[in-house]
């Protein structure tokens, strides 16, 4: 690959990693609520789905270690180090993502102290912790081979690790078996959340087998990518044999998955035409059966295209299974949309891992056991090297200037797009009100939560007009403030936010009416800032602030409060006056639309 492209890709990875770090600052400064889309009904979101994928795609580490050391398949040794590195970084990503996801990350050591053998999460915590250690020890020799570690102590450690490799590998396999499956077991206790097409009592086994298939195919993909990166020939014969092993695992996975669904009678649900069933179908057919068919044919398997396609499809299929069951198809009563910061952190972690991967590959003997790879230095002019515009190509100064320039740009964009100001002021993000629908009868559902109120607008209008003798007065009972040229401004036009008060003061308009620049003094008697402005009621005598409100208060209360305030007062009065207590009950207005209350039915019939 041309040095120019390598540089661009690295820049892209750096950009993602820096953006992730900026989002991480937001996460740790203001908490989960300000930085993520997680909520009370969806406490696990995008990060958990990504973590499941990280671990699944790291399955190649223990599988290849088993193949080389336990099964003595020495021919796979050339790609062993790379498999272990991939797993190490996959688990590293898992742990780092976990630190963002935990509400109290500084308590992450708690499972070491407080043992709870009945918790799957407890078992996973221990297994991941130990397996990460095992992977570090398995990879340590690669680092210790570097010139920096010539000291006899390091050499001693190196030899010790060499002796201990078999016990380490077997421990690693046992730990992987346990936690790869236990990650699936996490959802066993959530039948009320997981979609029936993905829920299965066999899910631990499914997770384990699919991790073998996906992990091996991730190694195939990595082989294609890294060899493309270096511009060398792909070791197609090795990768092809990995594909063969993965095909066995995939076949077993598909058989078990479909067999279990069939045995429990859930399979017909896969044909009901819902989007979940279509996703399931795509996952099983395109991400499972199709690559399986491709891999069974030796002719296809031995071509670059065939192998690459099946690797992509299998990885996509397993990633889809992990993401579907933990994110897409999970049942939730309120919507969940990952926030920008959440997405940036989710992507930033693997981007940083990829950079570490490239660093190791380019500086250590990862790809070739004999010597570190000598990658030709990138002889390109880096674009962002001001103030060293003539910095030597690829000199350290030039690289530092270039990457720090990139960082400044990315952080500035993050400052603009992340909700920093709202988070810092403790304000809620804007939650815009949706207008009521209907005319004679209004269906009021400001946040579209389906907890709607059926409001007989025409009936109220007519009755009030009759009582007051004037339709104008009747309208003004509720439509208390109207925009210019408007006879009855709708509630949502000023009470724009569902949950919080918003400023509706129109400076430009006031300025125009009062006579332009010469009239600033009319309101701003001392300084030309908002703090010194005159109180609204000095001109608008009828606009007296209510108790507890500041004198300068051009705020329209939250829609929720405005609507309750408007209706409840009057309803309470009428309930007392007409001796009809039911008028003051919540359910008079709030009953689900499917079951209109008798009162509403009566109103509708009138």
């Amino acid at each position: 690959m041309a040095a120019q492209y390598r540089n661009w890709i690295k820049d892209g990875l750096w950009a993602l990693a820096i953006a992730g770090m900026a989002a991480a600052v937001l996460r740790f400064t203001f908490g989960l609520g300000a930085s993520t889309g997680l909520n009370d009904t969806t406490p696990w979101g995008l990060w958990i789905a990504f973590k499941l994928c990280f671990v699944a795609l790291s399955g190649g580490g223990f599988t290849l270690a088993a193949m080389v050391y336990v099964f003595h398949l020495e021919s796979f040794r050339p790609i062993l180090r790379r498999a272990i590195l991939l797993a190490l970084l996959g688990y590293g990503s898992f742990i780092v993502s976990l630190l963002f996801d935990l509400g109290l990350p500084w308590h992450i050591y708690m499972p070491i102290i407080h043992w709870q053998h009945h918790s799957v999460m407890f078992e996973i915590a221990w297994c991941v912790m130990l397996y990460f250690t095992v992977l570090t020890l398995e990879f340590a020799p690669v680092i210790l081979e570097h010139d920096w570690f010539r000291h006899p102590i390091f050499q001693m450690i190196y030899r010790a690790l060499h002796v201990a490799v078999i016990p380490l590998v077997i421990t690693g396999i046992v730990l992987s078996t346990l936690h790869q499956s236990s990650l699936g077991a996490l959802i066993l206790i959530m039948p009320h959340r997981v979609h029936p097409l993905w829920y299965s009592p066999w899910i631990p086994v499914l997770f384990f087998i699919s991790a073998i298939a996906a992990g091996l195919m991730a190694l195939v993909l990595e082989g294609f990518l890294v060899e493309r990166w270096l511009g060398s020939q792909v070791k197609l014969d090795l990768l092809e044999r990995l594909g063969k092993v993965a095909a066995f695992a995939l076949a077993l996975y598909l058989a078990l998955r479909l067999g279990d669904l069939w045995a429990r009678g859930t399979l017909p649900a896969a044909l009901d035409g819902s989007w979940q069933s279509l996703l399931f179908g795509a996952e099983v057919l395109i991400g499972g059966l199709l690559p399986l068919t491709l891999l069974t044919s030796r002719k296809i398997r031995q071509t670059r295209e065939g192998l690459l396609t099946s690797a992509l499809l299998i990885v996509a299929g397993v990633v889809s299974q992990r993401m579907s069951l933990s994110l897409f198809t999970m049942w939730r009563p309120a919507p969940y949309l990952p926030s920008l910061a959440e997405i940036l952190i989710a992507l930033g972690v693997p981007a940083a891992a990829a950079l570490i991967y490239l660093f190791f590959v380019e500086n250590l003997a990862v790809l070739d056991e004999k010597a570190p790879l000598k990658i030709a230095p990138a002889r390109v002019q880096l674009p962002m090297t001001w103030p060293f515009p003539f910095a030597e190509r690829n000199s350290l100064n030039g690289i530092i200037a270039h990457r720090s320039g990139l960082a400044v740009g990315i952080i500035a964009v993050m400052l603009a797009v992340l909700p920093i100001q709202t988070a810092a002021s403790g304000a809620l993000p804007l939650n815009l009100v949706q207008p009521a629908r209907g005319w004679r009868i209004l269906w009021i559902d400001g946040n579209r939560a389906k907890y709607q109120v059926e409001f007989a607008h025409a009936e109220h209008q007519e009755r009030l007009a009759k009582e007051m003798g004037s339709s104008e007065e009747a309208c003004q009972t509720c439509h208390h403030l109207n925009l210019p040229q408007d006879e009855a401004t709708a509630c949502w036009q000023c009470h724009r936010d569902y949950l919080q008060a918003v400023n509706i003061f129109d400076h430009t308009r006031h300025q125009q009416i009062l006579g332009g620049n010469a009239a600033c003094q009319e309101c701003h008697t001392v300084e030309h800032t908002r703090r010194s402005a005159a109180a609204c009621q000095e001109c608008h005598e009828t606009m007296s602030p209510k108790e507890g409100q500041a004198a300068f208060n051009p705020m329209a209360p939250a829609y929720l409060d405005a609507m309750h305030g408007l209706c409840q007062d009057c309803h309470a009065q009428q309930a007392a006056a007409q001796n009809r207590p039911e008028l003051a009950l919540c359910k008079t207005c709030h009953s689900l639309q499917e079951n209109p209350s008798e009162l509403q039915a009566a109103i509708r019939n009138e």
């Binding site: 100064n397 964009v413 400052l415």
Partner: protein, 234 residues
Amino acid sequence: MPTWMLIAKGAALRFTLGICALGLLRLLLLTALDMFAALRRAGDRRLPLGQIARQTLSWVAPLARLHRSRPAYSFASFVFHLGILFAGFFLVNHLDILKDLLGISWPSLPKPALDALTLAAIIGGAYLLLYRLYAASSRRLSKLSDYLLLVVILNILLSGYIAGRPWNSIPYDSLMLFHTLNGIALLLVMPFTKIAHCVLYPLIRLGSEIAWHFPPRGGEQVIHALYGPEGRKI
């Protein structure tokens, strides 16, 4: 909210301040890094640090030794900088924006005083512009960006000054939009143009002294070319 206020309080300002503050910080660090590298190459040679510090400080004063030949220019430049700094950092409206954004603030100066300083800065800036245009020596050294930057700064000062005057007939919001856009443009280009001297100033004298005293990096490349990377040190 009028457009200019949306810009002055919203994402655009956060982006601009990010580019400006971080960009200037990066510039400062990179320059310092380069100087350390130069000093390392220099080995045990000593710099006249006291003299450099004294010279750096003396440049700030108007009519110092360096400027004695052009007293009017020197004075105009001094007034120009003074106006920019005071109107920029001590106007109550600017401080309000900063307080909304970062929650930090410091006492402001009364508006009439700042108005006078701004007016002086406008006159000083106009003089600088005319000098650049009509003094042959200065014109020959000027690039397009030198004129543009001066014009942008004058735009900011003028529009800010006029906006607060009751006698002007241009709508307040239009003037403020112009003011805000010019201000944002200036902040954005600060780390990439000569205006970076606002943070690099303390290093300028030091930098030229280092360059004067010690061998430039070019010598190293010559050595490499002649003797290879392991070649003799100068």
